[in-house]
Symmetry: D2
Subunit: 292 residues, 4 copies
């Protein structure tokens, strides 16, 4: 089948390649003319046969909103827009409503796979009406991993990004779990081969996983991670997961602790711990550490 | 090689079977005569050729202490005792010292594998002196999974149980991660197929793991887990992990949150939340829920 | 001075009384004619001399929005609206902008005091431009406690509700602190007089506070809180505090833990702990508790 | 009455002064001859009339153990030892048993008050048998604050130190509550006078407390705490509180979060966050921050 693909960065470029390898036609557009197949969104739309399917793979927020708005003007009733970026699920309903008025379908797709996706396939979590999702099946089949899993039609519009968001929230806490365990093992003297302990866990244990395999890779490159700083960004999806939990009165202690650990990792000095130090000094005369 | 094996319950019985399948001789002892190969510890020791290797697989604490003490009386210099139970690592040094005075070696082995171990092998984390660990290699090879991983000589006496303990701590937080994500997905209406979302994650995602496979198994048996109560025991190793972290001033927010969630799950009513309700009533006149 | 006061419930009614006791004129409006001084908002506005000051004390969200919109139509340039309800600080800027176009000032006031306010005074945290805040000083003086504290002009529009929101977040964690300590003391047998321990803390300790006094009151009414259920609502401000922290990448582990404890207290059974139970059963054959 | 007092440091010296002011006889011993009233423990014991009361105020652990052992040899049946240091409650039962064999009584006293105690009095939480506690009442009355509170006979031996330990656990979470709120207020631009917000909270609010007063003192000395590092020690009692909670399966999320925040504050770089950074790099190609 034919697919328009907007955004040919690290993710989008590899996805174009993987879909083409499956025998489909992809017309890609990117602001960078060196990687773009066409000169404009208008040209991209022109080159596709109706009903058109256009996959948006640009940064969440303003960039996605702009492209969706432009596609709303360029496309025709019966066409479908797929948002495969990291959009917040709450944006999906707005996009679906705005496009729906014009008779254009909307599908949201959460995509996992990172730098490994071209080779191993991308896990896809999809939201939208059946009538809009089903015609896209060949594209989803091209992108997904070869095995029986890695694709789900999760529910209504928004369900794809919501599921991907929760996936990332779970990911935060799993990473935190290994990280906490690693720090504790590194701290204790009786355990002399922490890296080999991690390596051994890759079979037969309850905690074997792909993330564990990656941890072993990282330790093979730098056994005690001495070259790194303990500094971790967060991509937005962890924050949205906690916000969704608060909206729904669902307690998420481990996922939230993992998010907060990242926040703290980015502080040169902790304001709240200054207050703790100040209070200890006030009531107990405990020494404080002064800034140099 | 020959091995004495004390404790033939769910774990020990299967381990005897797996070691025998590998061609070794196992003489097992259990208080239950129906499963025991010998009538007493003394008879077990008698039937083994020196230097003897005796694997203890009984409940941690008093039961293990008793057996180790008895073996200290029955065994001879050059023999080795292996504690494969869920002992706290702090017990290992005591056992090693007490046996060491008599010239008897001591090795601690953390064993993971549960009900799947007989078929798939047991992951082994071992602590002790090289001279005591190396002669046991054939037994470890018999027990471990077939692949390249699943066995590690982690370090000195205690390092095996310490590593296994941290493994379980990590396991607590990973389980909590999936559980929190599952609850949030179940709560949100746009996601109509939570079980299928979990199933799809088994390939191509960052969070694929054996625990995820088990979660899918559980959801296949009972899609919304309606037959279960939200009640979870803890086995001691999660508690010890947090205690070891406190001893070493290592923050473990996600693992500890997971342990506390289990504590709370076992309370019919939460005393601390009664106090919260009482305080809200005191300052704000907020309604409280009275006991029936 | 003259003040219009809209909303004469538990809080508003007492505030009218306290302002009148200070010698000011209050014209109150409530949908309930039994407590209202006038029959309509229009009549309230008519009875006030320009420049008018109208204090809104109705539930946050739709109710406040509706009243602010109506006042925007009824009031004149130079008048001022004060929102003293529990509005989210993000609403304040919207209200200020909408009223500002019409030349009407806007002030947000976070009010603490609960059922004790009539007698002891209300703590006030105020946000807005100096020109709108200063003329209201007589009303603030009437409402605040007698001592030197209890009133602050915290900053720009929104700063009042933001400060009150953070106050409530702190309150959540302080209540949780006492509640956790109380549960632990109640659980341990050596401590035979937990209520008397709490009572004794009211002097000389680091943790003496008004909340502690209230805890002692509650324990005097019901020593072991046996008449209460461990069930606690949350009023929105705790949630907003965590959301504001996430927006600003500030870690709030204790406040968030306190919020989540309330969420959990309201669940008959915990879905996430069902998943933990299911996973333990899957890998370890651990018994689960079935629903009756 | 007469009291022997061992340990005349910051706390002990002030306590001697306060008891003497109340008209009692205190014979103090300290290793530092400049502050000591006698040259040895033996001389101290000799100078007291039977039945003797000897208050131990030395560091918890080895120092306290040593003094208790020596007193066991020096004292006579009918005498009483009081441990007023920060001992772990589990030590109390051992001391009571060892002294009890010799007919010597034992009382444990948790003491709160810090640098303010000499002036304001010390809050006292006492454990022990009524026959040992009651004769000490005049000393307790001398030490405690003047008001009706500040002293409790909490229960059996150990109950005093256990109550004081929980007091400190509560203190950790209360300090954390204010610290989190302060950081959030400092981060948000609309709030222009954070110090004044804190000051205003000292009356009329739900969160007024002595700790809040101290926070205002600290902000008056250094409005944004710019002279301090965000570095906080912990004294042992927070750790013991969490360990006691684990022993008793009581969830303490806020207190534990506060303890972990202190652990993290003392790390130059976080090992666990290095692992998070490494994993993000492995699966997503996310940039890491290298050490300089």
């Amino acid at each position: 089948m034919q697919l328009g693909l907007i955004g040919l960065g690290k993710m989008g470029g590899n996805m174009r390649e993987r879909i083409r390898r499956a025998g489909h036609t992809v017309i890609g557009y990117d602001r960078n003319p060196e990687v773009s197949d066409v000169k404009s969104l208008a040209e991209l739309v022109e080159k596709l046969d109706a009903p058109r399917h256009v996959w948006v793979m640009v940064p969440a927020g303003t960039a996605t909103q702009t492209v969706v708005d432009e596609l709303g003007d360029l496309l025709s009733p019966g066409d479908t827009v797929i948002d495969g970026g990291n959009s917040r699920w709450t944006d999906d309903e707005k996009h679906a409503a705005a496009l729906g008025i014009k008779g254009i379908g909307f599908v949201d797709a959460g995509v996992s796979g990172g730098v490994w996706g071209l080779q191993n396939g991308y896990a896809l979590m999809v939201g939208g009406d059946k009538q809009h999702v089903e015609p896209l099946k060949p594209v989803f089949d091209a992108l997904k991993p070869e095995g029986p899993y890695g694709y789900v039609h999760a529910g209504r519009v928004g369900a794809g990004h919501f599921s991907k968001m929760v996936h990332n929230g779970i990911e935060y806490a799993m990473m935190q779990a290994y990280a906490e365990g690693w720090e504790l093992l590194e701290k204790v003297h009786s355990v002399e081969n922490v890296r080999e302990v991690f390596r051994s866990w890759q079979e037969g244990t309850v905690i074997r996983s792909w993330l564990l395999d990656l941890a072993v890779n990282a330790l093979d490159e730098d056994e005690h991670l001495e070259k790194l700083r303990g500094y971790a960004e967060d991509s937005g999806e962890g924050r949205w997961t906690v916000e969704a939990a608060i909206d729904n009165a669902v307690p998420l202690p481990a996922i939230t602790a993992s998010l907060f650990a990242r926040f703290a990792s980015r502080q040169d000095d902790s304001p709240q711990m200054k207050m703790i130090a100040a209070l200890r000094n006030q009531f107990g005369g405990h020494a404080v550490e002064k800034k140099d």
